[in-house]
Each structure stands twice: as C-alpha cells, then as structure tokens.
C-alpha cells in the first residue's frame, strides 16, 4: 500500500485524458501498486460516464454544418452510419488479441528489454546508475529514465530545471521531506533542492520523469501548494 499518491487534480486530469503522456506513465505505474487511487479513479471515470450520458447528443452520419430537417432523416442517417460500421467491421481482419491483463499492471513491463536486475545500466557514479528511456519510448518532450541507487548511498544535493515525478519501483529512499517505498509517487517542483538517500536494506530503483521547464504564472501558486504545483 502506498503512502504517497498523485494529488486530486492529477488524477482528475488523468481520468479526463488531458494529462501528458510521461505524467500518465508515472500515474499508471503508481496505479499498479495503489488500491486507493484505483478506487478514486473508478469514481472519476464514473464522473466521465455521467457526463457522457448527460451530454446533448449530436447527429451521427450527417455533416456538422447540415442541420437535420427532421427526426426522420436523422434516424435514417444514424441507421446508414450503423450499416456502414457493420460492413467495415466485417471486412476488416480481426487483430489478434494483445496480451491479456485483467487488472492494473506496470506499463513498462512490456517495453523494457530485460528485467530490472538485468538491464544494461549506465553507471553514472560508483553508486548511481541510469537506464535512459527518453530516446526509446515515445513520450513527447519529457525525459524518462530509470534510476538505481545503491543501498544506503546518497545522491548529491541537486535541483531540477523542470518538474520531477518519481515512482519507486523497488527498495526505497528518504529525503528531507519523507521516506518512500515501492509504489510511492512523488512530485517535486524546481524550487526543490533535495538529496535522496537509498534505504539501507536494498538497492533502490525509481522511474523518474522530468518535464520541460515550464512557465509559472506567479509565485502565488507555488506558495499555495509548494509540493504539488508541478502542473501549474
């Protein structure tokens, strides 16, 4: 069970489908670990379902600029578009089903060339290694990497140009603000100086997502919510 979660607005944007791809990756990884966020997401999706149900229907088949003269022709257009769809479905080959998965799982599983232990890690220092995914996966302009810190090792104090999202995949670490374990989702904005230290018992592996430097609308937002203003 995780103790650190994406905030309400992040889950709202995720459910609405307006979150960036790299951020969605981080949320999706976290969901695999967190029943609480799964349950919250279900509610948010239900909100989407209600909004879909209650929307004023648009006429299907007809051109948008063509105002349907009467209900009858609207029904006709709808029927025609249905027949067209069925014809298309029957003519198209059915794609073989993709890997079956019934619940939330780590979306990276399918894309990593090897297991976490067997990855071709690039050693940054004696204690820190990196597996860069930025040029491998299609994630827009964000930088995506896995990071491995040796058990007990300390990462030098650093700041970030952009906002940093971290999801712990294995082991854990601590910094000035808390202690984090597998599944925890941590958002940090550029104002943050931090020096994470891996927990003693095992190497710590994290997914890190760094977005491009962003415009801030003013100091107020950061003052209001210094921890989670990463999408401000």
């Amino acid at each position: 069970m995780s103790a650190h979660h994406p905030d309400d607005l992040t889950l709202l944007d995720y459910s609405a489908g307006s979150l960036g791809l790299a951020q969605a990756l981080a949320v999706s990884v976290h969901l695999g670990y967190c029943n609480q966020c799964q349950s919250q997401l279900r509610k948010l999706n239900a909100l989407g379902g209600v909004l879909l149900e209650e929307t004023t229907p648009a006429s299907v088949g007809a051109n948008d600029d063509q105002i349907p003269e009467q209900n009858h022709s609207q029904m006709e257009e709808l029927n025609k578009s249905f027949e067209a769809l069925m014809a298309r479905i029957e003519s198209e080959p059915v794609e073989p089903p993709k890997r079956e998965s019934t619940g939330f799982h780590n979306p990276l599983e399918r894309y990593l060339p090897a297991s976490l232990d067997e990855l071709n890690w690039q050693q940054q220092t004696r204690e820190i290694a990196k597996f860069d995914l930025t040029n491998v996966v299609d994630m827009g302009s964000a930088r995506v990497a896995l990071q491995k810190i040796k058990a007990g090792a300390k990462v030098p104090v650093h700041t970030h140009r952009g906002n940093e999202l971290t999801v712990v995949l294995k082991g854990g670490f601590s910094d000035e603000l808390g202690v984090y374990h597998a599944g925890d989702y941590i958002a940090r904005d550029p104002s943050h100086k931090h020096s994470p230290t891996a927990l003693q018992n095992e190497d710590c592996v994290c997914l890190t997502v760094l977005d491009a430097p962003m415009k801030f609308t003013g100091p107020l937002m950061r003052w209001l919510n210094p921890l989670f203003a990463w999408r401000a």
Partner: protein, 201 residues
Amino acid sequence: MLRTKAQSMSNTSSANGDGPDWGELLAQVAHKGDTMAFRKVYAHFAPRIKAYAINQGMHQQAEELVQEVMTSVWRNADKYCGSLASASTWIFTITRNQRIDLLRKKGRTSKEITVDTEELWQIPTEDTTIRSIQAMSTEKRMRESIGELPEEQMIAVRKVYYEGKTHQEVAEELNVPLGTLKGRLRLSMKKLRVMLEAAEL
C-alpha cells in the same frame, strides 16, 4: 452542452434502472454477436460520442472517433465487467483512450517504441479490489452528487473533462486566476469524495 439539472433529474437511464439494460445488451453482443442489441447500443452512444468529440474541438475527426470507439465496443464487449463500471463509464474510458490515440497518431515521432495508449490508460477487465462497490450505484450517486455541486465548480469540472482543456485555458476562458480555478476543482473533488463516501457507508 450538458442538460440542465432539472432535465437530467427527469432523464431516465440505465443508471436509474429504468432505461435499457446496457450491460445485458453488451453481454448479448459478446456472446451471440447480436447485431440488434448492438444497434441499440449504437443508437444511444454514437450520438453522445460524437458530441464529446465536437466538445473536444475535434470536428474533423468526430465521425472517425465514433467509428473507432464503436468498433472497439463491438470487439471488446466480452471484456466489459459490470461490477467495475457501468456501460456508460466503460464506453467513456474507451472514448477517452481512442481520442488520445487519434491525437497521438498525428504527432508520431520515429522513436523505437510507442507505448500503447491502452498501457498508459489501462481499462481493467476484472474486479480485483477487495471492497467491491456496485458500479451502477456508484454512477447513480455520482449523478446525484454532481447535482449538488455549486454551479461554478460544476462548470470547471465539465470544461476540464468534457472540453479537454488545460487548467490554464479554462481559467482564461472563465476569466479567473489559475489559482482560483484550481481551488474550485480541488473543492469539487473533495465534495464529490465526501458525498460518495457518505453514500457508501
């Protein structure tokens, strides 16, 4: 483009138990390839999916989105899990994912691997949580709870969900500071959570 509260209250649908049982119709599609059942699902949802696309500013691709979503509904009807989501919620999640997919196709780069949208926005097919709440009642309560939100919070939520706008864009459109908009969204999330939890007890 939403109906007013009064209209939505009188609107009878599956979530209220009065309309067609969409879950049952989807089951007929899944098990018997029942075209008649699918036609009913199509007649109800296709015009709503199209309205969603138009609200999202996708006029040009609105028909394409409808066809993609309904094709997916036909092919994946057996994956619909009634205890996880109501039919309209399930179809909403498919619609959302297909919309993201269409937008991603436009901006494809030459990177080696494309992580599938369905991996980033997963739709579980089995209820794996310990505490299972009936999806129908979740949606019914959500419908009631939304009705209780103050107008300005409702408008903010609707714009984020339904018009695919960023917080910045919504704030500009409503002519309020970004912080105010975020405050409204946070409050609405908190209220919905409290109302739903109260109903679950």
